[in-house]
C-alpha cells in the first residue's frame, strides 16, 4: 500500500485516496473547434508509461482535494506531490 503525502494534509495511506489518471492531460477548451483525432486523444488515448508518471489522485477520505503525484509506475517510488494548481518545475 502506497504512502502518499497529501500537500494539504500530510502523509496518508493509499486507501484514503482514489486514482484519477494521467495528470498531464489537458481538457480542450469549451466552445472551440477540435478535430476528431484530438478529441479521441483527450477522451481515450493514454500512454501506459513505465517509469516516472505524473498522475492525479483525489484525497477522497481526507480533504477531498485533487492532487498531482509524481510516481514511478514500476517501483512505486513517489518523487513529489503537488497541489492541483501547481506544476512540476
Amino acid at each position: 500500500m502506497l504512502h502518499i503525502k497529501c500537500p494539504h494534509c500530510g502523509i496518508r495511506s493509499q486507501n484514503e485516496f482514489s486514482y484519477g489518471g494521467d495528470a498531464t492531460v489537458k481538457r480542450p477548451e469549451l466552445n472551440k473547434e477540435i478535430s476528431d483525432q484530438d478529441w479521441n486523444n483527450f477522451v481515450y488515448n493514454r500512454k501506459s508509461l513505465r517509469g516516472k508518471h505524473l498522475e492525479l489522485w483525489q484525497h477522497l477520505s481526507g480533504c477531498r482535494q485533487w492532487i498531482k503525484v509524481e510516481r514511478d509506475t514500476a517501483t512505486h517510488e513517489i518523487f513529489n506531490t503537488l497541489k492541483a494548481n501547481e506544476d512540476i518545475s
Binding site: 495511506s13 480542450p28 469549451l30 477522497l60 482535494q65 494548481n85
Partner: protein, 998 residues
C-alpha cells in the same frame, strides 16, 4: 502410551501440566509448551504423512516454519483446518489432528503404489501424461489426482471465529527476536524509538534458547529473558510473539499475522482467533535468522532424517530425543553442537564429517567428550521404509567424486547439516537486490530499495559477538536518526565457542549401480533426477525449472530446498550460482489463513450500512428492506400476508388514486454556493442553466466526456448564489468527485463551492392526486396552490415549527412534492405526514412501488442509465442544448452515436397481457432462429402496470424509434421463457405529462 523419548530435567516445557491429544485417532500425552511435533516425537511417532507425489512415508524434518513434511489436518473446538504445520502448532488439551495426503491410512496408503511406478512420475509428468485421450481428463484423471493429491480438506462450514485487522505505525519494526533482534530492539528502545519486535515462535530468544553461549555473565537464554522482560515494560515498545511478519510491501508497509488463540483449546470470549497487523515502519530490521540446509543423499526423505538444528531444538527446548542412536551427517561445525548435546544427555552419537581435518574449539570439544567422529565420510543412503533403520556410509575422496566401500551403520535417525541459508525472503520482497556470498554459499541481502537492513544470521553473520555488536550499533544509529537521542548502552561481554569454515559439499554422488532417489524438495517430491530431466529437455531459466519440476513451490516455499536446487542447476550448467540466480520471493512467507486476510469484513460488515432517520418507523410498520448501494430502503410495507407483488401493487395504486409517501432521504444531495454556480451547472448539465430563477428547480442530465449519461437529477436555486443539487442514490459520491474534479483542476477560475449534504436532510416524496390537499394541511401558512407553487417550483415552509424545504418535483408522474427537513426532524416530519394524511388515505410506499410508478411513466433510471447509454437512447435528446458547450458534447457526434438505427428506450407489453417479462430478457425477431440468435435489444426494467393492470416493461431496443408497433419475442434462457411481445411507446401512462402540472 508413554513418552519414551522424553528426557527428564531438560527443556523449557511445563512438565507439571500434562496434556492429552489425539493423532490419527490414537490418544497420546504431552506437556504444556510442546508443539504437536515435539509431543509426537516424545511418543516415538515419526510417521506423520505421505509425500505429495510418490506417497512415500514422511516424518519430521524441521522444528519450525521451515518444516516441509509434517502438515496435518487440525480439529479444534468443532472446526477443522488444513495446512497446519505440526512443528508450529502448539499442543493444547484435547487437540486432534490427522495425517493428510494418505488414503485409507498413513500406515497403509494406496497412493504409495506411485512410488513403485515412480519411473513414470518424473518432472513434467502431469503435463505429459494426462494429455490424452482428452475425454479421460474429467472422468478419470482429474478425480484420481484430486483424491490422491493435496494437503488436507477445507471446511465448508461457516467460520464462527473472529479475525481482526490492526493498523500500526512505528519507528523500527524488528522481525525476529534472536540475538540480533533483541540487541537492536534494546538499543533502539533505550534511545527512545517506538519499536515493534515480532517473533513467530511462542518463545522469544531464537537461537539463544539452544546455543551454549554466555552474554554478560549470563547464559544466552537468561540474557534474552532479561532483555525481553525489560522491553515489555517500556511504553515505547510493543513485543509480540506468535506473530509472523509475512509480507513486505511498498513504502515500508509490512503485514504480520498474529496467532492469538490457535494455541488454546478454544478462543476466549470477545477474543479474536488471529489478528492481521498492517505496520508502517520508518525503518525495518530483518533479524529473521538462518535456516539449516540439508545435504542431499539417497533416500534422504526417510522418516528419521532430520535437520541437525531441529534435533538440537527438540532436545533443548522440549526435552525430546529424535532418536537414541543418532548419526550426525555434517559439513560444518553445527552438527557437532547437536552431537555434544546428545552426548551430554547420555546418548552416543556418531558424527560423519565430509571435511578431512577440521580444527576448531567445537570439534576439539567433541573429540574430548569421546564422540565417535569419522572424517571424510558421507551418508550414501538411508535404509528403512517408515523409519530410518540404518545408513549406508562411505569414505569420500578429497575431490568429493569417488566413494569408498559402502558400509552399513545401525542408527535410528540421521541429523543432517549442510550449513546455513539466511532467510532473505522479506528483504527480497522489499525489492532488495540480493547478492551471493561465496563464504557461506548463499544469497544475502544487497542493495536496499526501501528502508530495511538485514542483521545477524539473516545476513550471514554466524558469530554471536559480531552479531550483537552490529545489532546494538544499528539499533542505536537508526533510532538516533529518528529520535535525535544519543543514549548508548554498554556492550556486554560475549563468550562463545569458535567454529571453523564449512565444506562446500552438498550432494552425495550415487554409488555404482544404485539408483536412490535423492530429494531436493521434500514437500513436492522433487529429486535430483527431476531437475536433470528438466535441464535435458531444454529448460534453462531457474523460474522455468521451478515451474516445470515444482521445485520450491509448495506451502513451505522451498525454505529448505531452494539453494540445493540452485547448486544442482549451476553444477549441471557449469555456471556459478549467482549466474543462475534465485527465483522471486513473494509474500506470504508462510501460509496465512483466509480468515485473517478478510478480517471483520464479512457479510453485512463488508461495507457500512446507511439508514435514513425514519428507519425505525419503517421497521415498526413492517417494512421489508432492500439493499440500495450501502443504504437500506423499504422495498414495501407488508400488510397481513401480502407478498412483494401484492404489496407493491397496492402501494403504487394508492399513489395513483390517493396519495403516497416515500422515504427519499437516500438521494444524493449536494449544496452548491458561489457567484459562478450557474456557469458550472451550464457546463456540467446538457441543458441551459444560466436563466434559472430563484425559487425554481430544473431537471438535468450530466454526461461523461465520452458522451455516456453519468447521472440525472434536479437542481434548485435556493437563493441568488445558493443551489441544491440532487443525484441518484447510486451516483451520489461519483457526482461529487466529478464536480470537484472540474472545479479544482479544469476550471479553477469558477468561484464555486460544493459539499455533500446527503446526510443533513431527510426527504419525503408526497405523490398522488391528493398530495396538494395533504401538503396544504402540513403547511397551513403557505400558498401551495398551482399558482403559489407551480410545477418545478420551490419554497420554504414551516412544518409545525420545523423549517422545511418544499420542492414540487415528481418521479412518479403524479402531482407530487418532495419535502426536506433537517435529518433530526425526519421522524417528526414523517409522523406528521402519516397523521395528517390519514383523511386522504395516505400510505407509505417502498422502492418496488416507486419503480412501478416510474417504469409505467417511462421515466429512465439506473437500469437505463447504466453507463452504456447516451441521451438519445433514453429519449433525453430534447435536453441537449445546441447553443452551448457542455461536458461530453463533442463525443455525441461519434458515428455510432448518430447512427440512424441507434438504440432507444421503448415500452414492451406481452401479447397475452398476462406474462411478466423477466428483466434482462433479450428481444429477438425469431424465437426459433439458430444460435446465436441476433439480439435487437434487452429488457431493462419490468413492472405490473397499476394503471393498465397488465405487465409492462422498458427496453433498450435497436432502431427503437421505428419499432413501435412491431411484434417481437422476449427470450430469457435463464428463466427458460419465450414471450411474444409488442413494442409500444415508453410513456404508458399520461404521455402528455398533464398530471404533474395539474
Amino acid at each position: 502410551m508413554t513418552q519414551s523419548f522424553r528426557l527428564e530435567n531438560v527443556g523449557l516445557i511445563n512438565k507439571d501440566k500434562k496434556l492429552s491429544f489425539k493423532f490419527n485417532g490414537k490418544t497420546y500425552y504431552g506437556y504444556e509448551g510442546d508443539t504437536l511435533a515435539s509431543a509426537l516425537i516424545a511418543n516415538g511417532v515419526h510417521l506423520v504423512g505421505r509425500s505429495f507425489k510418490y506417497h512415500r512415508p514422511r516424518g519430521f524434518f524441521g522444528a519450525g516454519v521451515d518444516e516441509p513434511y509434517a502438515v496435518v489436518q487440525l480439529y479444534r473446538n468443532g472446526e477443522t483446518e488444513p495446512n497446519i504445520k505440526a512443528t508450529e502448532q502448539e499442543l493444547f488439551e484435547g487437540l486432534e489432528a490427522t495425517s493428510v495426503n494418505c488414503w485409507p491410512s498413513v500406515n497403509f496408503d494406496i497412493g504409495a503404489i506411485n512410488n513403485f511406478f515412480r519411473i513414470f512420475l518424473h518432472a513434467g509428468f502431469y503435463y505429459k501424461t494426462f494429455m490424452w485421450p482428452k475425454s479421460f481428463w474429467y472422468k478419470v484423471y482429474e478425480p484420481f489426482i484430486r483424491k490422491a493429491a493435496g494437503f488436507g480438506v477445507v471446511s465448508t462450514k461457516h467460520d464462527k471465529e473472529r479475525y481482526e485487522h490492526k493498523y500500526e505505525y512505528c519507528d523500527l519494526l524488528i522481525v525476529g527476536s534472536g540475538p540480533s533482534g533483541l540487541a537492536s530492539a534494546y538499543a533502539a528502545a533505550k534511545n527512545g524509538a517506538r519499536v515493534i519486535l515480532a517473533e513467530d515462535k511462542p518463545r522469544f530468544g531464537g537461537t539463544l534458547l539452544t546455543s551454549e553461549v554466555n552474554i554478560g555473565n549470563q547464559s544466552g537464554k537468561e540474557w534474552a529473558e532479561g532483555i525481553i522482560a525489560e522491553l515489555k515494560e517500556m511504553p515505547n515498545v510493543t513485543v509480540k510473539n506468535r506473530s509472523q511478519v509475512f509480507g513486505y510491501y511498498d513504502h515500508n508497509m509490512l503485514v504480520m499475522s498474529e496467532r492469538i488463540s490457535d494455541h488454546l483449546p478454544k478462543t476466549k470470549k470477545f477474543h479474536p482467533k488471529q489478528r492481521l497487523w498492517y505496520i508502517r515502519a520508518k525503518e525495518v530490521l530483518i533479524s529473521s535468522g538462518s535456516i539449516e540446509r540439508p545435504i542431499v543423499f539417497g533416500n534422504n526423505d526417510t522418516p528419521g532424517v532430520i535437520l541437525s538444528s531441529a534435533a538440537k531444538e527438540y532436545l533443548k527446548v522440549y526435552g525430546v530425543l529424535v532418536g537414541r542412536n543418532p548419526l550426525i551427517f555434517t559439513n560444518n561445525d553445527s552438527g557437532y553442537e547437536t552431537a555434544i548435546e546428545f552426548k551430554k544427555n547420555g546418548v552416543d552419537p556418531i558424527i560423519l564429517d565430509t571435511r578431512k581435518d577440521p580444527q576448531s574449539e567445537i570439534v576439539d570439544e567433541a573429540k574430548n567428550l569421546g564422540i565417535n567422529i569419522k572424517f571424510s565420510y558421507v551418508v550414501v543412503a538411508a535404509q528403512g521404509y517408515k523409519k530410518v533403520k540404518s545408513a549406508d556410509v562411505a569414505k569420500i575422496s578429497d575431490d568429493k567424486e569417488q566413494l569408498g566401500a559402502v558400509e552399513n551403520i545401525k542408527c535410528d535417525c540421521i541429523c543432517v547439516s549442510g550449513f546455513w541459508t539466511p532467510t532473505i525472503h522479506l528483504a527480497s520482497q522489499s525489492g532488495n537486490k540480493t547478492k551471493f556470498n561465496e563464504d557461506i554459499d548463499a544469497f544475502v541481502s544487497g542493495t536496499s530499495k526501501q528502508n530495511e537492513i538485514t542483521l545477524g544470521a539473516a545476513n550471514g553473520t554466524y558469530t554471536l559477538d559480531e552479531t550483537l555488536k552490529s545489532s546494538f550499533e544499528t539499533g542505536h544509529e537508526l533510532s538516533k536518526k529518528i529520535t535525535n537521542n544519543d543514549n548508548k548502552i554498554s556492550f556486554p561481554n560475549v563468550v562463545e565457542k569458535k567454529s571453523t569454515t564449512h565444506d562446500k559439499f552438498w550432494c552425495v554422488p550415487l554409488p555404482e549401480g544404485k539408483n536412490y532417489k535423492r530429494f531436493l524438495d521434500f514437500q513436492n517430491d522433487v529429486a535430483v533426477s527431476d531437475v536433470e530431466i528438466a535441464l535435458k529437455e531444454g529448460y534453462r531459466s531457474i523460474e522455468h525449472v521451478k515451474r516445470y519440476t515444482t521445485l520450491g513451490m509448495a506451502t513451505d516455499q522451498g525454505k529448505t530446498s531452494n539453494l540445493n536446487g540452485l547448486q544442482l542447476v549451476s553444477s549441471i550448467e557449469n555456471k556459478i550460482v549467482p549466474a543462475v540466480g534465485h527465483t522471486t520471493f513473494r509474500p506470504p512467507y508462510t501460509p496465512v489463513s483466509i480468515g485473517a486476510i478478510v478480517g471483520r469484513e464479512v457479510g453485512k460488515h463488508s461495507k457500512p450500512t446507511r439508514k435514513s432517520p425514519m428507519h425505525s418507523w419503517h421497521e415498526k410498520n413492517n417494512a421489508v428492506f432492500v439493499d440500495a448501494g450501502v443504504w437500506l430502503r423499504p422495498r414495501y410495507y407488508k400488510q397481513g400476508n401480502e407478498n412483494l407483488f401484492e404489496g407493491s401493487k397496492r402501494e403504487a395504486k394508492n399513489v395513483r388514486t390517493n396519495v403516497g409517501v416515500c422515504d427519499v432521504t437516500t438521494l444524493g444531495k449536494i449544496d452548491i454556493k458561489g457567484p459562478d454556480v450557474a456557469e458550472l451547472l451550464n457546463r456540467v448539465y446538457t441543458n441551459a442553466w444560466l436563466k434559472l430563477p430563484v425559487g425554481k428547480a430544473r431537471y438535468g442530465v450530466m454526461l461523461r466526456e465520452d458522451g455516456i449519461v453519468m447521472d440525472d437529477g434536479t437542481t434548485t436555486r435556493i437563493s441568488e448564489n445558493h443551489y441544491h443539487m440532487t443525484t441518484t442514490t447510486a451516483q451520489a459520491a461519483n457526482v461529487l468527485s466529478h464536480l470537484e474534479y472540474y472545479l479544482q483542476l479544469v476550471w479553477p477560475e469558477l468561484n464555486v463551492n460544493v459539499v455533500s449534504t446527503t446526510e443533513q436532510w431527510a426527504g419525503a416524496a408526497i405523490a398522488g392526486p391528493k398530495s396538494r390537499d395533504l401538503l396544504q394541511k402540513l403547511f397551513p401558512n403557505s400558498d401551495v396552490s398551482n399558482e403559489g407553487l407551480p410545477f418545478m417550483g420551490y419554497m420554504e415552509g414551516d412544518l409545525f415549527g420545523v423549517k422545511a424545504r418544499i420542492f414540487r418535483i415528481s418521479f412518479s408522474g403524479e402531482l407530487a412534492y418532495e419535502v426536506n427537513v433537517e435529518s433530526d426532524n425526519g421522524n417528526f416530519m414523517w409522523k406528521k405526514i402519516m397523521e395528517i394524511g390519514e383523511e386522504f388515505k395516505v400510505q407509505p410506499y417502498g422502492t418496488e412501488a416507486l419503480s412501478t410508478l416510474r417504469i409505467e411513466m417511462g421515466h429512465v433510471a439506473g437500469s437505463e442509465l447504466d453507463g452504456r447509454t447516451i441521451p438519445y437512447d433514453n429519449s433525453l435528446e430534447g435536453l441537449l442544448s445546441k447553443k452551448k458547450d457542455f461536458i461530453g458534447k463533442r463525443s455525441l457526434n461519434r458515428e455510432a452515436f448518430i447512427a440512424e438505427d441507434r438504440q432507444k428506450v421503448v415500452g414492451v407489453v406481452p401479447l397475452d397481457k398476462k406474462t411478466s417479462i423477466p428483466e434482462g430478457s433479450h428481444l429477438v425477431k425469431d424465437s426459433n432462429a439458430p444460435l446465436p440468435n441476433p439480439k435487437l435489444g434487452y429488457i431493462s426494467a419490468s413492472c405490473w402496470s397499476v394503471e393498465h393492470d397488465n405487465p409492462f416493461s422498458l427496453a433498450i431496443l435497436k432502431d427503437g424509434k421505428n419499432m413501435i408497433g412491431e411484434k417481437l419475442f422476449a427470450m430469457s434462457p435463464l428463466k427458460n421463457k419465450v414471450i411474444p411481445v409488442e413494442i409500444i411507446s415508453s410513456h404508458y401512462v399520461d404521455p402528455k405529462g398533464e398530471r404533474v402540472r395539474s
